[in-house]
Amino acid sequence: SQPLAGHQAAELQSKVVPSKQILHSDNMEMEPETMETKSVTDYFSKLHMGSLVYSCTSKRKTK
């Protein structure tokens, strides 16, 4: 049975690992999402721009 086993081994070897038989877990690598941002300071700085400008100029004046 030795030649038979040899034949089977050869047959198995040829069947093993055809190109399709690969577990391809090629993770596709995506780019990150972009989120839109808001900030309390955006609005805060607009809201208080007047008084800030005022305090700066008044500080300058006092110098």
């Binding site: 399709k20 690969i22 090629d26 993770n27 596709m28 999402e33 955006d42």
Partner: protein, 408 residues
């Protein structure tokens, strides 16, 4: 006094999130909401940032809740730009949650308002988001089926084609604006869309652009992503040598960046590539490296894959002892993780190997002796040809690029 306190808490939340500590930032924002404010614009900004912080923390249900609050508020106070931003963020969140139809509506709203306000930057960002939603939608449907990239049903193809069109539109604007970072992102995702569509040459061209921009910025993570994506595309072009070179660059960078999971992935890809090149010694070398890291990270599924691959490679080399060792390990792990098809494959591999070794392999091995029983209970009595066929189906399914995880 109360107003200042809410603002102070929110400012601290902003500072913490900018510093990268979203978890701590969230607690300050939530404290700010507790204190409350009558200034609805401030509240809108807090909701928006809470939504984004939860998004980055992968707590999407919470992100959805806060972006929804922000949208309602922006509409109430008639803040059109604020509404556009909230819509975009809500759209991105809905996309991650798999609600693609609503995501499209939201991202489209972001786009419409940006155009109305003649806000080019917003318009480009909305186009990128829309591209991402259609890409996810296409990939989601595709992953449910058993297709190679390029062999797609019409609905998948049309979603992916739309994604490609949105990325192209985005690219036109960000190129005009000279925004290289945005170009890089669009090229990367455009490349991946072409890859799924089976346009592998176009995928390569896009990823080459992505690589160029990543190098300009010294962004090594983006560079590594580009190498990996280029490797994947060259595999499907049948250019395995080139693919192996790109995967090696990926591995190199993964090691430099000390990202073990990515290192494991690169080793696995290299193992598969050398299998395709029929260099089984090198394949085994890389699959063993992958196995070690999978065990280290307690990644059972990865470990099972490694054993399956090693079993095949050792069989190809005629090393049946090692082949049986890994096939048995694959069977054990498949059972452990409840992977029925993996379990079946492992049993088939073992019975094939047993047949080759025939008389020499011990018949009182418990796993071997029960194998035919389970096979019958799984499939009924099936002819050998049927077995092969079912195996091939499984392999085809696994070949399809997998759903992207939420790590990005």
């Amino acid at each position: 006094r109360m107003e200042a306190s809410c603002l102070e808490l929110a400012l601290e939340g902003e500072r913490l999130c900018k510093a990268g500590d979203c978890r701590a930032g969230v607690s300050f924002f939530e404290a700010a909401v507790q204190v409350g404010t009558e200034d609805l614009r401030t509240l809108s900004a807090i909701y928006s940032q809470l939504g984004n912080a939860y998004f980055y923390l992968h707590e999407y249900a919470k992100a959805l809740e806060y972006h929804h609050h922000d949208l309602t508020l922006a509409r109430t106070i008639g803040d059109l730009l604020g509404e556009a931003k909230a819509s975009g963020n809500l759209g991105n969140t809905l996309k991650v949650l798999g609600n693609f139809e609503e995501a499209i509506v939201c991202c489209q709203r972001h786009l419409d308002i940006s155009r109305e306000l003649n806000d080019k930057v917003g318009e480009a960002r909305a186009l990128y988001n829309l591209g991402n939603v259609y890409h996810s939608k296409g990939k989601n449907v595709a992953s449910a089926g058993t297709h190679d990239p390029g062999e797609l049903p019409d609905d998948v193809k049309s979603a992916l084609q739309k994604a490609a069109n949105y990325y192209e539109e985005n690219l036109t604007i960000v190129t005009e604006l000279g925004d290289r970072a945005a170009q890089g992102r669009a090229f990367g995702n455009l490349g991946n869309t072409h890859y799924l569509l089976g346009n592998f040459r176009s995928a390569v061209l896009a990823h080459e652009q992505r690589l160029l921009i990543a190098k300009e910025f010294g962004d090594r993570s983006a560079e590594r992503r580009a190498y990996s994506n280029l490797g994947n595309a060259y595999i499907f072009l049948g250019e395995f040598e080139t693919a192996s070179e790109y995967y090696k660059r990926t591995l190199q960078l993964a090691r430099q960046l000390k990202d073990r999971a990515v290192e494991a992935q690169a080793c696995y890809s290299l193992g598969n590539t050398y299998t395709l090149l029929q260099d089984y010694e090198k394949a085994i070398d890389y699959h063993l490296k992958h196995l070690v890291i999978a065990q280290e990270l307690n990644d059972k599924i990865g470990e099972g894959r490694a054993c399956w691959s090693l079993g095949n490679a050792y069989t190809a080399l005629g090393n049946h002892d090692q082949a049986i060792h890994f096939a048995e390990r694959h069977l054990e792990i498949s059972r452990e993780v409840g992977d029925r098809s993996g379990e079946l494959t492992a049993r088939l591999n073992l019975s094939d190997l047993q047949m080759v070794l025939g008389l020499s392999y011990s018949t009182n091995n418990s796993m071997m002796s029960e194998s035919h029983v389970v096979e019958n209970s799984l499939n009924g009595t099936r002819p050998r040809a049927g077995r092969r066929h079912s195996m091939e189906n499984m392999e085809l399914m696994k070949l399809t690029p997998e759903k992207v995880q939420n790590w990005n």
